[in-house]
Symmetry: C2
Subunit: 301 residues, 2 copies
């Protein structure tokens, strides 16, 4: 089925204990699209400035990513982010953040994208996520991400968004903040009470917890990899593969969602193996399927 993502396209500079990657391609919509494209055609909606050094058509060549929703603004500058990961690879410091084109008016969703059935609203202000969602005619499954600053400062908008989406994908700290609960199972229930039928809580190196409003739960560890070079994009790749698999199957039942989350977990483990998109561009669907099988074996008893 059709899968649409709205999110950022950025120029990243990333420092980790394993090296530095300067001015590389990043952004939530880019990681999401690359990960999702292993499973389903993707429709990308995002904006860049004239300074963007990357040819996205080339980046996604052969990958069935429709760039009709990519807007290039000639008088704007592309979003930039620079960050440094600490030695534990969990914590990071933002060294520089230039919103640039992201601080302007949002992109318009092309008419040809408005019939999209699966939708991912990557992290941005909840108000903007709502505006983007309003442009989709009759989505089947809408997932969204959010972050601490929107929970703290735009909670009313976020609560409106939560009533409109099917699935919230957030990390552990965000779930605790949003629910005011330390226990993640209780936190998940409180988030479900706010509206979405599904919540997926990402725990980084400790995997994820998926809960739905019918009481289903799925607890999955992270794929145990020793190859961790750059965690940037792990969360958006996770979301990309998860939604990508749902869109591939056209189903949203809990059994399908479990497999989707497992694919998300595995694809994220490839993302973090290298800087920028290299961990994803160097693999095939077959590599992903093999690692999924390994993850299954590693967790079965």
């Amino acid at each position: 089925m059709s899968l649409l993502v709205t999110g950022s396209i950025g120029i990243d500079t990333v420092k980790t204990p394993y090296g530095v990657s300067e001015n590389c391609l990043g952004g939530s919509a880019v990681y999401f699209s690359m990960a999702a494209s292993f499973f389903s055609p993707v429709r990308l909606v995002g904006v860049i400035g004239a300074d963007c050094p990357f040819d996205l058509a080339k980046v996604f060549a052969g990958r069935n990513v429709d760039l009709a929703g990519l807007e290039v603004r000639p008088n704007s500058k592309t979003f930039r982010w620079a960050g440094s990961y600490h030695e534990n690879m969990d914590d990071r410091t933002t060294d520089c953040l230039e919103l640039n084109v992201l601080a302007e008016h949002p992109p318009t969703i092309p008419d040809s994208f408005r019939d999209s059935r699966f939708v991912f609203l990557a992290n941005t202000t909840p108000k903007l996520q709502l505006e983007l969602l309003d442009q989709i005619q009759s989505p089947l499954f809408v997932a969204a991400d959010t972050m601490n600053c929107w929970i703290q400062n735009h909670l009313a908008d976020l609560k409106m968004l939560l009533k409109r989406i099917d699935c919230l994908i957030i990390n552990e700290d965000e779930a605790k903040l949003l629910s005011a609960e330390f226990n993640l199972i209780k936190a998940a229930q409180k988030v479900l009470d706010m509206g979405p039928g599904v919540v997926i809580i990402k725990k980084g190196q400790s995997g994820s917890i998926t809960c739905d409003a019918k009481g289903h739960k799925f607890i999955l560890p992270a794929y145990p990899t020793t190859e961790v070079t750059d965690p940037t994009g792990a969360g958006d790749s996770f979301a990309g593969a998860t939604l990508g698999y749902l869109s591939q199957t056209g189903k949203t039942d809990f059994q399908t969602l479990k497999t989707a989350v497992a694919y998300g977990t595995v694809v994220a483990s490839f993302t973090i193996a290298d800087f920028s998109l290299h961990g994803l561009t160097s693999i095939t669907r077959n590599d992903i399927d093999k690692r999924l099988e390994t993850l299954q074996k590693l967790t079965r008893f």
Copy 2:
């Protein structure tokens, strides 16, 4: 088969956000024995002072825990610990620690216990763990726990111990400290290189990682419970059920070890549901088996 544990018997005072439990029964050997007794007969080795208000024969009545190795020293005082858990239930502050009888000479292992096949050396100085181990004739599977202060200050002794045991059961921070590695899979490999054939890394609310020297791995999340009243004894209960199940089956292959670790996970989830031993004394083996089945369903995809 025969399962022996050496460890502490203590008088605990525990504060958590859910209440206070004053002067209750605690200690590694006590939690271990109670958990293990659901699976196998247990031989307990430990010392208390004349002041100990608990009748351990009554505590373990009907549970097949042999107290021939319990030494009561008339002129000594029992080990005491007081701690407060923070709101996240992960971090805790030690409010008071009185080693008392634990600072004296160690207990002797009774002749009738020296043929034990499965052995757990609960946390104490590695030198003492070695002395205790020397008294066992021909153990089949020896597991041990340790902690930060022995890693930092008694590393030579600990390395000697690691060459003598089959399995080290430690928590995440201890594994990182011992291996000087942040990545837990790399950390596990480094610990295996120090001697034990198996290492189990406990990650609290995020489950555990089990690795052996043959390259087998098992990644299991924690049981997702909302009932968390007092985490004291979770680690020793985990070890108790794990070793208890191995002793019950008499096997130590990786497939059996996986089930054992799953039992450890489930029994620990009962321990933390209430103060002191109440979480364990209020359940049956049937409750444990049911929760094991649930854990299996929650993690399968």
